[in-house]
């Protein structure tokens, strides 16, 4: 079937796409898509699908670490110090002969826990406060806003280090600190969404029935704000994983005896290791980057899938 292009302009890549769509449309092959529009759009985004795959793989191998490797992440083996990758030790061994692959896998458990856990927990805090104060407005809103402004005017790493200096170094402290520094962003997002959603007519309809504020704002309005909130959770997961890695790299994050991705990288501050023993820091650096990249891909995919203005 030949397409008549009477306009006489040269055909472009876009034109060829259009021709294909039109041909299929006229042949009746295209029907209104069924099923979840959201899932379809998300998975048709190639990067998001790749991201989801990488994310799943890394999470799975970390969680299943005890089944996948025969080594103990803390077992010191002084006969095998700083060995390059071999069949026995795929990622080689570190300064005290611990198997690096094992440490990367077990480290993933902690790093992902810190990243995902802090992101979810700070999202819960931020959303609970943001939804309510954004909906009711008035002095509660003003107060929450001021408090978040104070938290957010500290650069995150400064506040984290400040709290580390005061509270001391431990895994739970780190998560608490991340929640304290992380709730502000998602609070603002939730509040901003509320400010526009509370003007929607269905909200006024609910108010005209005299329904209670928590039911209106958490049950009825919140689901409509979930899209951007989900995107924000993925982005803050990425940010927290980077922050954990950075802090542990400096030796100020998770205590050094617990393996985390950042703690493994800590030794790379030593220039001799940096120059001579690439396997100690390069693989784990790549794993962190890949994981954060996959989370960011997922976040972008979520944003496109939840944004109704996106076409394509």
């Amino acid at each position: 079937m030949s397409m008549t292009n009477t306009t006489g302009r040269k055909t472009s890549r876009l034109d060829r796409q259009f021709d294909l769509i039109r041909r299929r449309e006229e042949a009746g092959q295209l029907t209104n898509p069924r099923g979840y529009r959201f899932a379809r759009k998300f998975l048709s985004n190639r990067l998001a699908a790749i991201g989801l795959l990488i994310f799943t793989i890394i999470v799975l191998v970390s969680v299943l670490a005890p089944l996948l490797t025969p080594y103990d992440p803390r077992a010191i083996d002084l006969r095998n110090i700083l060995k390059p990758p071999t069949w026995a030790h795929w990622f080689g061994t570190d300064k005290v002969g611990r198997d690096l692959l094992t440490r990367v896998l077990y480290g993933g458990q902690i790093s992902i826990l810190v990243g995902l856990g802090s992101a979810l927990a700070s999202a819960v805090v931020g959303v609970l406060i943001g939804c309510y104060t954004g909906y009711v407005g008035g002095w509660r809103d003003a107060l929450a806003m001021r408090v978040s402004e104070i938290f957010m005017s500290f650069p995150q790493i400064i506040l984290v280090l400040l709290l580390v200096a005061i509270l001391g170094q431990s895994l739970s402290n780190l998560i608490i600190i991340f929640i304290l520094t992380g709730w502000g962003g998602i609070y603002r997002l939730a509040r901003a969404r509320m400010l526009s959603l509370r003007e929607e007519e269905y909200v006024q309809a609910l108010r005209s029935f005299g329904l209670s504020t928590p039911i209106i704002c958490y049950k009825h309005i919140l689901p409509n704000a979930l899209g951007p909130i989900m995107v924000n959770i993925t982005l803050s997961t990425a940010a927290f994983i980077l922050a954990e890695a950075g802090l542990s790299f400096l030796g100020l994050g998770v205590p050094l005896d617990i393996p985390t991705w950042g703690n493994i990288l800590n030794v790379a501050q030593d220039l001799r290791i940096l120059e001579n023993n690439w396997w100690v820091w390069l693989p784990v650096g790549i794993v962190i980057s890949l994981f954060v990249l996959s989370v960011n891909f997922i976040g972008d995919g979520l944003r496109d899938a939840t944004d109704p203005t996106q076409q394509g």
Partner: protein, 338 residues
């Protein structure tokens, strides 16, 4: 068809399709009409009927994921005919027509003006690209234009930003911008839908004056039959991408020959006819553009439906200017005359 001397722009069998979300929407599916000098052509129809797309197509202001499939848009300029559909979208030739030969005003004056520039700046942009005026003359001309459009204190208003203008004033400023280079054709895409009736009356009076004084051809897009009755010289009624009926305003409103036109006129309350006027609702709703009926697009809602309606009716000329797309137009027309 013989070419009238006073036709400013003619559209023949125009098809514009949209390709969003990997689907093909035949938004405009073969429409033909002429815009005549010094006359107002009203294109009337409900949302999604393709009336705005037709306007954007003439200006080549379509979004990226859409294209002109077929048909001709010919602009009869003083220096010979120009086939607009063959010009490059944002090419030099198209740009030289936009704004200077054919100008457009939009539905929502609140969003159609750039909030970060003064009204004067936005008017002078047109002047800069289509006239030989100097920089200093821009402002004088902009003030003149604003005064012509009935804006009080134009000397100070010209330096204001759009958000300090009211809706009616913004639409006047839009018209000032559109008229700045004395275009031959003015396309108005629902220019008063966002405005109040008293302001709408002001804007229509202004457009009427422009038509009379400058001989501008006006293509007015509207959904309001009242506006058609008051302003149009000619009417084209659109439904789902086709012009189902077209003709002079007398022909179409007094003797509607397409069932859709008839049903539309019967479904709207008319001011002054009192509480007991007969109103007949049109059953059903407009079809999904991706799941259109095969033949006549109105068939599913039509009281005159027959089996033949499964095939798209042809356009029939029933008077010199009156044409209709319906298999049973004779019976419909006869009923209307009763």
């Amino acid at each position: 068809m013989t070419q009238d001397q006073d036709v400013a722009l003619s559209v023949k069998n125009l098809k514009t399709f949209f390709y969003t979300n990997k689907r093909c929407n035949k938004a405009v599916n073969g429409v033909s009409f002429d815009i005549k000098k010094g006359k107002t052509l009203c294109i009337v129809g409900e949302s999604g009927c393709g009336k705005s797309v037709t306007a954007s197509t003439i200006m080549q202001l379509l979004p990226t994921l859409s294209r002109i499939e077929e048909g001709e848009i010919t602009y009869h300029s003083e220096n010979g005919d120009i086939r607009i559909d063959q010009l490059e979208r944002n090419g030099e030739k198209m740009r030289s027509i936009r704004g200077s030969e054919i100008a457009m005003i939009f539905q929502d004056p609140m969003t159609a003006l750039n909030p970060v520039y003064t009204i004067g700046f936005q008017i002078s942009e047109s002047l800069k690209y289509h006239t030989d005026l100097t920089r200093t003359q821009y402002k004088t001309r902009a003030i003149e234009l604003l005064r012509d459009m009935g804006i009080s204190l134009p000397e100070s208003r010209v330096d204001d930003y759009p958000h300090s203008y009211s809706g009616g004033m913004r639409q006047r400023a839009m018209i000032a911008m559109a008229m700045s280079c004395s275009p031959k054709i003015l396309i108005a895409d629902e220019p008063t839908t966002a405005l109040d009736v008293t302001i709408q009356a002001q804007i229509f009076e202004l457009m009427d004056t422009l038509k009379k004084e400058h001989g501008t051809a006006i293509m007015l897009i509207t959904h309001d039959m009242g506006v058609v009755a008051e302003l149009a010289d000619e009417v084209a009624v659109m439904y789902m991408g086709n012009i189902v009926e077209a003709g002079t305003v007398d022909e179409v409103l007094r003797n509607p020959t397409h069932p859709y036109t008839r049903a539309l006129l019967a479904s709207i309350p008319v001011l002054g006819k009192g509480k007991h006027q007969d109103i007949t609702a049109i059953p059903g709703s407009t079809p999904d553009p991706y799941d259109r009926p095969n033949g006549c697009q109105f068939a599913d809602r039509c009281a005159y439906r027959i089996d033949a309606c499964d095939v798209m009716p042809e356009e029939t000329q029933i008077g010199r200017t009156h044409r209709v797309m319906c298999w049973r137009h004779e019976e419909v027309g006869a009923n209307a005359a009763e």
